[in-house]
Every structure is written in C-alpha cells, then in structure tokens.
C-alpha cells in the first residue's frame, strides 16, 4: 500500500514536471501534443524501441543507485558523471592492455576495476569533505571537470585508434564482450548488463533494509549526533558512502563499453551521471523506485532522439528540460505540502463545509 502511494505521488510529480516542460514547448510555438506523441512512439512504439529504451536505462540504473546511495547518507553526489568516466577509462585500459585474459576472469575483473576506480574517484570527495570541510557538491563538480580532461587525454592521446576517423580507442579484447539480449530485437544494443543493474538494485535494497551497515550509513546522514554518540565513525561512513556511490557510477560505463561499442568514444558518459540525480530523486532513493524511474528516463532519452528531425524547433535537449523540471518539483515538495496544508486545505474545507451547511438549510 505504501509502495502504491509513493508510486502515485511520483507519477503525479512526473506529470507535473512534464507539464512544465511542455509549457516551454508551447511557448516557443511547437505543439506539445506532437512532442508528447513523438516521445511516446519513439520510446515505446515497438519491440525495437522498447529494447533501445532499456539499453539507455541501464547506465541510468547505476548512476541513479549511485546518487541514491549518497543521498541515503545525506550526501549529494553530483560527480557520478566523472566517476563513470574514470570507471570507463579503467575498463577500456584493462581490455586493451590485457586482451587475452581468460574469459572466466576477464568480465569479473573488468567490473571490479570499474567499481574500484570509480569508487576511489568518489572517495576523494568524501575524504576532502571529512578532512578539510569542503562541500562535496563543489568538490565533485570540480572532479567532473578533471575527469573530462583525463578521459579525453586517455582516449585521444594514450589509446587512440589511429585507423579510425572518430575520436575513439582501440577495441577491447573479445573475452570482455557482454552478449546482447536477442529476445526483444536481435539488432538492439541491449545487453546482459541490465541483469547486473537489477542485481545491484537488489543488493542496494538488501543493504538498506536488512544490514547493520545500511543502518549505520543512514544514521550517519540522518542523525550524525546520535551516530557519533553510538560509537560510529561518521568520517569513515562518509568516505565509504562516497566510495560505493562512485563505484556504482563507475559500473555504469560497462554496459556501453563492454556490451555494445567495445571501445571508448569521447564523451561516452553523455550526461548519464547528471540524469542519475533526477532518477534518484524521482525514485525517492529506493532501489525499486530508482529502477522504475531509470527505465522511464531511458525511454525519455530514447524518445527525445527523434525530436531533432520530427519537429521544427524542439531538440533532444528537451529531455534535460524535463529532468530539470522534475527535480525542481521533487525538491519543492516540502513547500508544496506546506502550501496545501496551510492555504489550500483550509480553503477547500471551508468551501465544502459552507456548501454542505447551505444544502442542509
């Protein structure tokens, strides 16, 4: 029951966010209904579209879980984008440097390396916050810029494939390839990584529901004073949270690199880290919510690709506007609730009751 109530309120927020974005569409003189139709048919119009939407959703599940984990500990990780890039560079380097590794070792090792490097990149922000008191948002944003530079250095200067016209690296060894899922559509890029994503979501849910670790993590965020007096090392909890958060973001790069492109292209993260913020907020920092909203944002990302060609003014950037509107609405929830409780509800009650009283006369 509780699940359905939060699902309903998320759906309400979602429609409010989309409504705000469509207002902008109407403002620049494009038909909102047409845009909505393109978004839906482009993402859910057939098995191929659905498979592609799920492919887009895969990294969003990881980045969403990443941001949600940090939120559970009261931290705002804006650096999922950079952590994802660092994880992706690590996997690509591994795949290029050790191409003949046994297939039994290759894929788990790749996941481990992506998690570790992404995690360390995130842990830097945790350490700076704990040791030096700098706000994690500013630090992770700056680390993002460093990661952008580092990734283009790796892709353009270290592992660049000179035979390719595009800025991209050599191909990784075939033992690292994740096989694609053909039951939807054989030509779609959807691959096994989505199973890993679901598995991570289950682990996430278990940790925060059933384990003492999850309890400590949450307590350090929600009630640091209580945590401190119960003998919990808050500093370690914060660094650990940023490590796991970064690690999950690092894994986000594996789906595209190991399952589809088999190499790293410049800008391969493509904003997935920032979408993770909207995913986590709409999913209310819970595993089930994150998976559902990631699929939704995957569909939105896929659907918005068609906007460039099929409309006159609106571009795929509309997906960003919709995300921004959703985040604004989710974040403003306390104010909206307060407004309802203090202003709207008394007025409605007064109106209803006077009508009721009059009808009885």
């Amino acid at each position: 029951m509780k699940f359905f109530i939060s699902l309903l309120s998320s759906l309400f927020i979602l429609s409010l966010g989309i409504l705000l974005a469509l207002t902008l569409v109407a403002f620049i003189g494009e038909s909102p209904l047409l845009v909505l139709k393109i978004l839906i048919s482009g993402s859910l119009g057939g098995t191929r579209e659905i498979a592609n939407s799920l492919f887009y959703a895969t990294p969003f599940i990881f980045t969403g879980l990443s941001v949600a984990w940090a939120f559970q500990v009261g931290l705002f990780n804006v650096g999922a984008e950079g952590q994802m890039l660092m994880g992706g560079i690590a996997v690509t380097s591994l795949g290029i440097l050790l191409p003949d590794l046994s297939p039994v070792v290759a894929i788990p090792l790749a996941f481990f390396v992506a998690f570790l490097i992404g995690g360390l990149w995130g842990a830097i922000a945790g350490w700076v916050k704990v040791a030096r008191g700098a706000h994690e948002v500013l630090v992770t944003i700056l680390l993002n810029f460093v990661a952008f530079g580092a990734s283009s250095f790796f892709i353009l200067n270290v592992f660049r494939n000179p035979e390719s016209q595009n800025p991209e690296t050599f191909e990784i060894g075939p033992h690292y390839f994740l096989s694609s899922l053909s039951f939807f559509d054989p030509s779609s890029p959807l691959n096994q990584m989505i199973y890993v994503a679901i598995f991570c979501a289950l682990v996430f849910s278990m940790v925060f529901r059933k384990t003492i670790l999850g309890f400590y993590q949450r307590m350090s965020g929600a009630a640091p004073g209580v945590a401190l007096r119960s003998g919990i090392f808050i500093d370690r909890q914060i660094i650990f949270a940023m490590f796991i958060s970064g690690g999950l973001a690092g894994l986000a790069s594996c789906g595209t690199i190991m399952g589809y492109a088999h190499k790293a292209r410049e800008g391969f993260a493509n904003g997935a880290g920032f979408i993770g913020i909207a995913v986590a907020l709409l999913g209310r920092n819970r595993a089930s919510g994150v998976v559902l909203s990631a699929i939704l944002f995957g569909a939105l990302a896929k659907g918005s690709l068609d906007l460039d060609l099929d409309t006159q003014f609106v571009t795929r950037d509309l997906a960003l506007v919709i995300q921004a509107c959703i985040v604004i609405v989710v974040a403003s929830q306390p104010g909206i609730e307060l407004f309802y409780r203090n202003v709207l509800q008394p007025r409605l009650l007064a109106k209803y009751f006077t009508k009721y009283a009059e009808s009885k006369k």
Partner: protein, 294 residues
C-alpha cells in the same frame, strides 16, 4: 619575461577575471542572505545567450545589455521563488537550474536562429571592445559591496538573514522578501558577467560558453570567506591560473609536449587543491541552506 609580456599577462588576467568576479559577487549576495547558490553557471549562460540573441536580432548593443540583465533577473526570480517558497534543498534546486540552462538554451536558440549550437557571430561594431571597462566596473563593485555589507541597512540585514533569520523576523523584517530581493540583485550582477562573456570576450553565444566558470566563482567565494575583497583576489588568482594555462597550450615544457586536454584541467586541479588546503567551513553563513520552521 619582458615588460611587454608582463603587461599582456596582467591584461589577460583582468580579461579572464571579469566573468568570475561578477559571478562570485552574484553568488555572494545570495549566499550571504542564506540561499546557497550553485546556479551561477545558469545565470551566466542565460544572460550570455539573451544578450547575444537580442544584440543580433535588434542590431543594438544596448538592447543586448538590457535583455541580458532581464534574462538574469528572470532566472534569479524563478530560482529565488523556488528556493524560498519551495523550501527544498537549495543545492539540488541549483543543479536543476543548471540542467535547465543546458537543456532550454539550445531549444531557444533553434527557435530563434534555426541552429542549436550558437548565435550568429556578431560584427565588430556590435561587440564591446573594451574589456577594461568591465574590469573597472568590477573594481567599483568591490568598494560598493564592502560599503554595502558594512555600512548600509540593507547589507547588514542581508548578513543577518544569512546568519539568523529569526533575529531578523523579531525586527519585523520578512526574511523571505529579503532573500528574494538579495537573490535577484545577485542575479543582476552575475548577469553582467554573462553579458561580458558573449558580447565582449566572445563574438556571440557559443554552446556551454561559461565552461564551469560559475563553479570556479563559487570556489573563489568560499576561499574569499564570503567577503568582497578577498573574493575579488581569489577570482584574480583563478584568472591567473587560467591565463597561465592558455599560455602553456601547445608549448613544449623541457622538451615534452603536454597534451592540451591535460593543460586545460589545470585550473580545476588548482581550485581543488586550494579548497583542500583551506578549511573554511566555520566562516560560511550559518543559516545557509537551512529552512526556517513555520
């Protein structure tokens, strides 16, 4: 270095410092009133775009300046209203505004000029050719803000609002109205930085032309302990890093050519290192990003 080179270097520091200074001052008014402002990037982008678009549509610089300021004020009003009345986490809301800038400007651009990337390049007579005028304005703002925060009722109220809004309410002043006003004033100042970016430093709006300056300005604000003169100096320091970085691009150091992608990240690395070595949590306005209970 010859005297000429030193002179050029100082000029380029001034040129690169202007957008940082205005953005940081925009953030200062907002943060000292208790509204955490990570949306400086959005201020810069929106005002840069509006200024360039209006200049090329009306073929008039003054219209450009006017629309740049209007756009900044509009974003400031929206941000302030959402922060003050939405009562959410101001950092999350600020990030949403940055996303909004990244997503909606290309759409506006396409609606106005049929391309997504940039506004048409402005001819020479429609550009501001004297960056030092802006730098002079920035200098005036240092004095003005020092005066504002020390000697005027409005400035003292802003500081009080950022430290203890309840104390302000006992004086019969609405902290909400004061925060709205401070954030919008700040957005106007930051808007000057955006106007400078597209009309003076560049020749029109280019995609993502703020390039993280809003965030570096925020770091300068923190390093400057939310005070006008130290923040000004911190901005100049970051501008100097940027100027050195531009000088080093494509040059061999000790016989080794360092790739541009690595040189370009050096300002961010320097910012990070400075943040690590200066712990200033204590100096932040006490009521920043905290909700007043009702």
């Amino acid at each position: 270095m010859s005297p000429n080179e030193i002179y050029d270097f100082i000029l380029s520091v001034a040129r690169l410092g202007v957008p940082l200074i205005f953005a940081a001052y925009g953030g200062m008014l907002s943060e000292r009133s208790g509204v955490a402002n990570i949306a400086l990037e959005a201020y810069l982008l929106f005002s840069a775009f509006a200024a360039a678009a209006a200049t090329s549509i009306f073929a008039s610089l003054w219209m450009g300046v006017l629309f740049g300021l209007l756009a900044a004020a509009l974003v400031g009003v929206l941000f302030a209203v959402v922060c003050v009345y939405g009562r959410g986490d101001q950092v999350v809301i600020g990030m949403a505004f940055n996303l909004l800038a990244a997503g909606s400007i290309p759409i506006f651009n396409k609606a106005l000029f049929s391309i997504t990337g940039s506004t048409p390049a402005l001819p020479m007579q429609l550009r501001m050719t004297e960056p030092l005028i802006f730098f002079g304005l920035a200098l005036v703002f240092v004095l003005f803000l020092e005066f504002l925060f020390r000697k005027t009722k409005h400035g003292l109220r802003i500081t009080a609002c950022g430290e203890n809004p309840m104390a302000l309410m006992t004086q019969g002043v609405s902290y909400k109205k004061l925060r709205l006003r401070a954030v919008v004033e700040g957005s106007l100042i930051a808007g000057l930085g955006g106007i400078y970016l597209s009309l003076c430093q560049g020749s029109g709006y280019a995609r993502d032309m703020a390039a993280g300056r809003g965030f570096i300005a925020l770091a300068a604000l923190i390093l400057g302990a939310w005070r006008p003169l130290p923040t000004f100096l911190a901005c100049l320091f970051f501008a100097a890093t940027d100027a050195v970085q531009i000088q080093l691009q494509g040059k061999a150091i000790a016989g080794v050519l360092i790739p541009n992608s690595l040189i370009q990240i050096s300002p961010y690395v320097v910012t990070l290192i400075l943040l690590v070595f200066s712990s200033r949590r204590v100096l932040a306005p006490q009521a920043i990003n905290k909700q007043v209970s009702e």
